[in-house]
């Protein structure tokens, strides 16, 4: 068990060191998310629409689009330099690759979100600080679901010829339940609803997360097979 965790940690650490050296991914994701939010602000009239009603949707679209960039890169980088072959040659369970990638995707995405949230608060004039706790729970649940399915599908699409195009086409329809859930929950949290009052959404998102992590564990062997 200890060895297993060590192997996962090694993969996460490797991704971190690469990112620290190149500093390509986080800045790109952050700027892209910011641009998405700006484009939405220009395309809707905030003097007519209530900011707290459209805000959560815009926030999650920004997370989703920026997250897709991260997912696209996470396996492509390995593929381009032939590192994936090296990872697969390691005498370790294939699920370690999945978990390593899942955790590093999750961390990168969370860091990006932590930078975006204050800007979101300023742009939309919404007070996030008064319900920061529930908001972070909700954002984490949504991001975890996104990464669980996204990591599986990006490991799959990395081997396709048209990987940048295929990943969103494969991923977005499957993510619709989690997007609906995350947007609804964020909206309710910003309206001041307690977490206990939206148990059905939390249940839906959490079971989505669990089921897709489970499915990924069972199927990742078949994807990472040469």
């Amino acid at each position: 068990m200890n060895l297993y965790l060590n192997q996962i940690a090694a993969i996460v650490w490797k991704d971190f060191v690469t990112e620290l050296k190149t500093r390509e991914l986080l800045s790109a994701m952050f700027i892209f998310a910011l641009l998405v939010i700006l484009i939405f602000i220009f395309s809707i009239n905030l003097s007519i629409v209530k900011a707290s009603e459209v805000g959560p949707g815009i926030l999650w679209v920004a997370f989703l689009f920026a997250g897709t960039i991260g997912l696209n890169r996470s396996f492509m980088l390995e593929k381009e330099n032939g590192c994936l072959m090296g990872l697969m040659l390691v005498p370790a369970d294939r699920t370690t690759i999945y978990f390593g990638k899942l955790i590093s995707n999750l961390i990168f995405l969370s860091i990006m979100e932590l930078f975006i949230l204050p800007l979101f608060m300023i742009f939309f004039n919404i007070d996030l600080l008064s319900h920061l706790g529930p908001l972070l729970v909700v954002v984490f649940l949504g991001t975890l679901g996104f990464c669980a399915l996204g990591t599986l599908l990006s490991s799959l699409s990395a081997n396709l010829k048209t990987r940048e195009i295929m990943l969103p086409i494969l991923l977005y329809p499957l993510l619709i339940p989690i997007i609906i859930g995350a947007v609804r929950m964020t909206g309710q949290v910003l309206d001041g609803t307690e977490l206990a009052d939206m148990m059905k959404w939390i249940g839906l998102t959490a079971s989505f997360d669990i089921i897709y992590i489970g499915v990924s564990i069972m199927t990742i062997d078949h994807i990472l097979e040469e």
Binding site: L153, I169, Y172, P173, P177, G181, K200, V215, H222, I223
Partner: protein
């Protein structure tokens, strides 16, 4: 030996063709002659007898994709991959027909072509998932990689259905309910003659599914045979 089996299956497929044809004729007669016109909706209500069976066929086809994908990953036999592919293609075609007939039915009854009602929305998402499945298959070259990837997507996609169902259902309850003559409780408000007609039509479409599957699977196997022969020719020359 080989010759015999193909002849036998040919005979079987002829029986299936005739059976499907006859049941379809009966279904047509029931839809247009036997069943009385609905009082409130008028003749357009007869769309139901092709709309619901198409929906049933496509959902059934997607379920078969799911089962065959699991069996493929388990047994790694080309056979299951062929079944999954054929079933997905047929499912997408009938899902498209559902998405076309739905708005045509909705326009005169609800007054709009499209309502973001739970059932319509889920069908649209389902269609997108399986179109992506077919695109994935088209993008990759034939071989074990394509079959494995497609199988994973077939499983992931089908497991998504309950999530889609509940999220879309709850998503709508936060908005004013659309003015829909709700189809809550199918079969309850229906007369026996309507149920019988619907039943015949369901039978006809189910038979059609098996007929199309047979044809499609045979085609894929022919393609495999041609490929292997081509390879043989390449090596021998």
């Amino acid at each position: 030996m080989n010759q015999e089996t193909t002849e036998e299956s040919n005979e079987e497929s002829y029986i299936l063709v005739w059976l499907t044809g006859i049941v379809f004729l009966v279904a047509m007669a029931a839809i247009f002659l036997y069943v009385p016109t609905e009082q409130t909706e008028g003749p357009v209500q007869r769309i139901m007898y092709i709309h619901i069976p198409s929906a049933w066929l496509s959902f059934f086809a997607f379920f078969i994709v799911f089962i065959c994908s699991i069996l493929f990953l388990w047994k790694k036999e080309r056979e299951w991959d062929i079944y999954a592919y054929a079933s997905a293609e047929i499912g997408v075609i009938f899902c498209s027909l559902v998405l076309i007939t739905g708005p045509i039915w909705a326009k005169p009854i609800w007054g709009t072509w499209w309502v973001w009602d739970a059932r319509l929305t889920s069908t649209l998402i389902l269609w997108l998932i399986y179109v992506a499945y077919l695109m994935l298959r088209a993008q990759t070259d034939a071989g074990s990689m394509r079959a494995r990837y497609a199988a994973v997507l077939g499983i992931v996609g089908f497991l998504n259905i309950p999530f889609i169902h509940f999220s879309v259902l709850w998503w709508r309850t936060f908005h004013p309910q659309p003015k829909v003559i709700s189809s809550e409780g199918f079969g309850k408000g229906m007369e026996t003659s309507m149920l019988i007609t619907l039943g015949i039509s369901l039978c006809a479409f189910t038979l059609l599914y098996f007929l199309l599957m047979g044809q499609r699977v045979r085609q894929e196997k022919l393609k495999d045979e041609i490929d292997s022969l081509k390879r043989e020719q390449l090596y021998s020359s």
